[in-house]
Symmetry: C2
Subunit: 214 residues, 2 copies
């Protein structure tokens, strides 16, 4: 069994019949399906059909279904566009977070993926590298910086997931109202249905990052 990450596997030797498809091509097809039908639509058979090939053929390019998910997650991490560090590290990092949210919005399935598995691949690594570059002059310990990155990802993904499934919010709201009517949860009942304030994420990110990297 190959315990290495998929990106480290050695390239095929030149001999033999050449492959008619590339791993990138397969990844793109999978992303296309996920964007259209959601993560559950990304089955080996569906991806193969999108490419006009057989399901078993995919296993020439990918070890298993999870590998395919890893490839997808890493691929869309390539959509980040990094600006040169401006000197204001806090604003730069918030920028990264907000850019992440845009990616999550473009690919609603990504939140579930990043929350479930670590994104490590060429593009995921690039994000880490940029994050560290922005914090190059910052006195915090390396481990604290990495913790901050992980937390930033978790928070952005969680908020993206929340805004991606408003049905959940509706069902929850109905249940909360039901419970509040029971009378045993005074603070819950006292919640005011406030006018949705404008986008809370930028400020939340500022505060979280500032708190973590004091």
């Amino acid at each position: 069994m190959d315990t290495e990450l998929i990106w480290m596997r050695p390239p095929k030797s030149g001999a033999g019949r050449p492959a008619s498809r590339t791993r990138a091509e397969i990844t793109e097809a999978a992303v296309r399906i996920a964007d259209r039908d959601g993560l559950s639509g990304v089955s080996m058979r569906n991806v193969a059909a999108e490419l006009g090939t057989g399901a078993g053929s995919l296993y020439r390019y990918v070890d298993n279904h999870d590998d395919l998910l890893d490839l997808m997650a890493d691929q869309v991490h390539g959509e980040y566009e990094f600006a040169e560090p401006s000197g204001d590290w806090l604003s730069d990092l918030v920028r990264v977070g907000l850019q992440g949210r845009e990616i999550f919005r473009r690919h609603p399935w990504l939140a579930e993926l990043t929350l479930t598995r670590a994104v490590v691949g060429p593009h995921g690594i690039d994000v880490t590298e940029h994050f560290l570059a922005v914090l190059a002059g910052h006195p915090a310990a390396d481990s604290d910086k990495l913790v901050a990155l992980a937390m930033l990802n978790a928070v952005v993904a969680a908020s993206a997931k929340a805004e991606a499934s408003p049905m959940d919010a509706l069902r929850s709201a109905r249940y909360v109202a039901h419970v509040a009517a029971q009378g045993n949860h005074p603070h819950l009942a006292a919640l005011k249905p406030e006018p949705a304030a404008d986008d809370p994420l930028p400020e939340a990110l500022r505060r979280i990052l500032a708190g973590l990297l004091a």
Copy 2:
């Protein structure tokens, strides 16, 4: 189709043959299996076998597999033990977060669940109620408090997931080393393999919560 959450469904009418099992019993069996074999072991057939019954019978108690997962997630949220608000809201909330981590440690499958779906049920609601009770005198807007709770959950779950699967960390580390050796990622290569500092979570939670609820 019933769009209501499972906990709102009306109790059965007294007539007819009484059920020989309870929903709680089924949920406990599912949790037991998940604790032992992980989330993927929680199939309808496995849970049914654990109870010595047929797979189809479970659908008398649960609408579908996802409902069962919701029940499991909510049930273990009943393991929180809430103390009276001490007056120091920050410490109280950190306490909640650390207690959450203990629950995640006892039930490693829970992180994936809470990161994937919202936990709304009797026990999940109790957590929210307690969170709001602690912040009863706090001037922040209600919506900000709820955001803080969601972020707290995301952060604790993410850190629990990370510590639950050190294999991922190992594979990642190997790949990072491989990339760093390439030379294109100076900041990554400059990371010092520091001695693991003592538990960073309490301080991180303090800072995040203090930042969010300034």
